[in-house]
Amino acid sequence: MSGAFLDGALAAAQERRGEEERAARGGSGLARSLGVKVLSAAVTLLFVLVFNFFLFRVLPADPARNLARGTTLTATQMAAINKTFGIGLPLWQQFTNYFVQTFHGNLGISFQYHIPVSQVIGKALWPTILLVGTSTVLSTVIGVWMGIRGGWKHGSAFDQISNGVNNTLYAMPDFWLGMVLLIAFSSKWFLFPAGGMNSVTGNLSGLHGLLDLLWHLTLPCVVLTLVYLAEYSLVMRSSLIDELGNDYLLTARAKGLRDAMVRSRHAVPNALLPSITLIMLNLGFVISGAITTETVFSWPGLGLASYNALNFPDYPVLEGCFLLFSAAVIVANLIADLLLTVLDPRVRQA
C-alpha cells in the first residue's frame, strides 16, 4: 500500500498545484482557496459520518445480545436495551439520533467493557499520541537528514548504503521488525520490557516514573521510527535531486557561497516541500497505522484498543476508532494543504 500511496500522494500534491493555478483565477486567491479547502474537508468529514453510520448498521450487530454476552437476559430486558439503542426506529430517525449523539460526544457503549466508548477512547488517546508523536519527530529529523546527505552527493558510498537500508526498511512489515526486536532485546537479552506502558510494580511517581515510561517507550518508538524514516529519506533525496539542476543554485555557487551554504540555504528549503506534505499526510495515517506496533508491544493506545475490539467483536469501539482515525486523516490532510498553500506561493493565485 505504501508504495502506491507514496506515488499517489506526490502526484496528488503536484496535481493540486496545477489545479490551484487553473482554479485560482479571480477572487482574493489566498483567503478564498483556504476557505474552499476547509469547506471541502468538512464535507469529507460529513461523508465519513454517513458512511460510518451505514457501515455499522449493515454489520450483524444485535446490541442487546452482544452487550449481554456471558450473562442471561430475559426477552423484556433485551427489548428494553434494543429500544435504548433505537433499533426499532425508522432509519432516518436512527440517523439523526446518531448524528446528534456523535456531536455530543456520545459514541455508544462498549460491548466488551460496558463503559462508554468515549471513555475507552479517551484513556487510549494519550499513549498513542505519545508514541506516534515521538516517533514522528525522530523519523522526520533522521529521515530528512539522511535524505539530504544522500541526495546532495548522490552516487556516493553513503548514498548507496542508505538507499539499500531504506529500501529494506520500506519492504519490512513493521510488526515483524517489532517482534524481532522484542525477542532479541526482551527475551534473549533482558534489556527492555516485554510490553505495556508502565511497570506493574514499583514506584511510578516523578522522575522514576518518567524514566520507567521512557524505558517502555524505547522499543515501540524505535520500530515506528525505523519504518517511517525510510519513506522520508527516500522522498527527501528524490526531491533534492530534482532541485539540483536548477539555475539558482548555479547563481549561488557563482556568488562564491560554500557548498554547505548552497545546500542548506537554497536547495534544501525548496526541496523540503514534498517532504512536509508527506509528513503531514503521514501524521494522519500513523495514528491508525500504529495498530500493529501497539499490538506487538501491548502499548495501551488506540491501536491496541482497536485490536481488542476487532477480535471480540466490539462494534461500538470499532466505530468510534474508525471515526477518530478518519477525522485525524482529514484534519492532517487539511493542515498539509493549508501549509502547502502558505509555504509555496506557486500554489496560490498564479
Partner: protein, 307 residues
C-alpha cells in the same frame, strides 16, 4: 529481384511491439538493481509454482504433523517446526503461493479500477464541456475520499462484515489500493489528451470509447505497468498486515498467517526461525517487486534514470 512481401497492418503492429519489447529488455538489462530484483522474483515465482514438487502438502495439515513442536532445525525440518509440529520450510514454500496469489489478484483488481477511473476522469476532464468537467470532479472527489479513509480500519470493517476468506481479502485489498493508481493514471491521461493525435482522432469523429481505448490507454500503459509492479509490493505487505490482525483466511497458510501464528503462540521461547523465515521471505519479495518496478520506470521514463 524477389517478390515484395505483403504483410497486414496487424502484423506490422505485432512486429513493432516485439521490437519495442526487445529494446526495453536491452535497456533493462543494464540496470543492476533491476536484474537483482528480477532474479529474486523469478526464483520466488518458480518456488511458488513448483511447490508440490518441493514439499508435500500433507505437511500443512496439523492433524498429520508428527514432528516435535517448536523444534530447532533438524534433518526433516531444515527450518525447525512451529507450535503444531509442522515444518516451517513446508509452510514457507506453500505460503508463497497464497501470498503471491493474493498480491497479484488484488493488484489486478486495483489496477483495473484505478486505470478505468483514471482514464475516464482524465479524458472527460479535458473536454471543454461542463458535463465532462463535472464527471472529472466527481470521480476525483470520490478518489480523494478513498485516499482519506485510512486503510486499516476500512479493511478491518470490511473483512469483519464479509467474513475471513481468500476472496474477501483480495477484494478488500483491491478496493483500498486503487486511489493511488487512479491519481497517477489521471495525471498521465491529462498529459496524453493534449497531444495532436487525439485532436486528429476527434476531428475524424472518434467516439469516447475509441479515443480512450485505442489512443489514451496504449500511451498510459507503460506508466500503468510500472505502477502495477510497485503496487504488488504494497499489496503483499497489506495482506501480511491483515493476516497478522487475524482477518486472513486461517485455513490457508500464507506468510502473514505464519507471522500471526508465531505471534499468538509465543515464538519468543521456541523456534525463532518460525518468525524470521517468513519475514525475510516477505522482505525479499517486496524488495524484488520494488526494484523491478523502479527499473521499469527508469527504462520507460528517461527522466527518472540515474537516481
Amino acid at each position: 529481384m524477389s517478390e515484395p512481401v505483403t504483410i497486414s497492418a496487424r502484423q506490422i503492429g505485432w512486429q513493432r511491439r516485439r521490437e519495442a519489447l526487445e529494446d526495453f529488455w536491452l535497456q533493462y538489462r543494464r540496470d543492476r538493481n533491476g536484474m537483482i530484483g528480477l532474479v529474486i522474483l523469478v526464483l520466488m515465482i518458480a518456488v511458488a509454482l513448483a511447490a508440490p514438487l518441493l514439499a508435500s502438502s500433507r505437511g500443512l495439515n496439523p492433524a498429520l504433523a508428527t514432528y516435535p513442536a517448536n523444534a530447532d532445525p533438524g534433518w526433516h525440518y531444515p527450518l525447525g517446526t512451529d507450535s503444531d509440529g509442522r515444518s516451517v520450510l513446508t509452510e514457507l514454500i506453500w505460503g508463497s503461493r497464497i501470498s503471491l496469489l493474493i498480491g497479484f489478484a488484488a493488484t489486478a483488481l486495483s489496477m483495473v479500477i484505478g486505470a478505468l477511473i483514471g482514464i475516464v476522469a482524465g479524458h472527460f476532464g479535458t473536454l471543454n464541456h461542463w458535463f465532462g468537467r463535472q464527471t472529472d470532479n466527481v470521480l476525483m472527489r470520490f478518489t480523494d475520499w478513498f485516499l482519506v479513509v485510512p486503510f486499516l480500519p476500512l479493511a478491518i470493517v470490511l473483512a469483519r462484515t464479509l467474513g475471513p476468506s481468500l476472496h474477501v481479502i483480495i477484494i478488500v485489498i483491491g478496493i483500498t489500493s486503487w486511489p493511488g493508481t487512479a491519481r497517477i493514471i489521471r495525471a498521465q491521461a491529462l498529459a496524453v489528451e493534449n497531444r495532436p493525435y487525439l485532436e486528429r482522432a476527434r476531428a475524424l469523429g472518434a467516439g469516447h470509447w475509441h479515443q480512450m481505448s485505442k489512443h489514451v490507454l496504449p500511451n498510459v500503459m507503460p506508466l500503468l505497468i510500472a505502477n502495477t509492479i510497485l503496487t504488488v509490493a504494497g499489496t503483499i505487505l497489506s495482506e501480511t498486515t491483515l493476516s497478522f490482525l487475524g482477518l486472513g483466511d486461517p485455513t490457508r497458510a500464507s506468510w502473514g498467517e505464519m507471522l500471526n501464528g508465531a505471534f499468538n503462540n509465543g515464538v519468543g521461547t521456541g523456534n525463532a526461525l518460525w518468525l524470521i523465515a517468513p519475514g525475510i521471505a516477505i522482505i525479499a519479495v517486496v524488495m524484488g517487486f520494488t526494484l523491478v518496478g523502479h527499473a521499469t520506470e527508469a527504462v520507460l521514463d528517461p527522466k527518472l534514470r540515474e537516481r
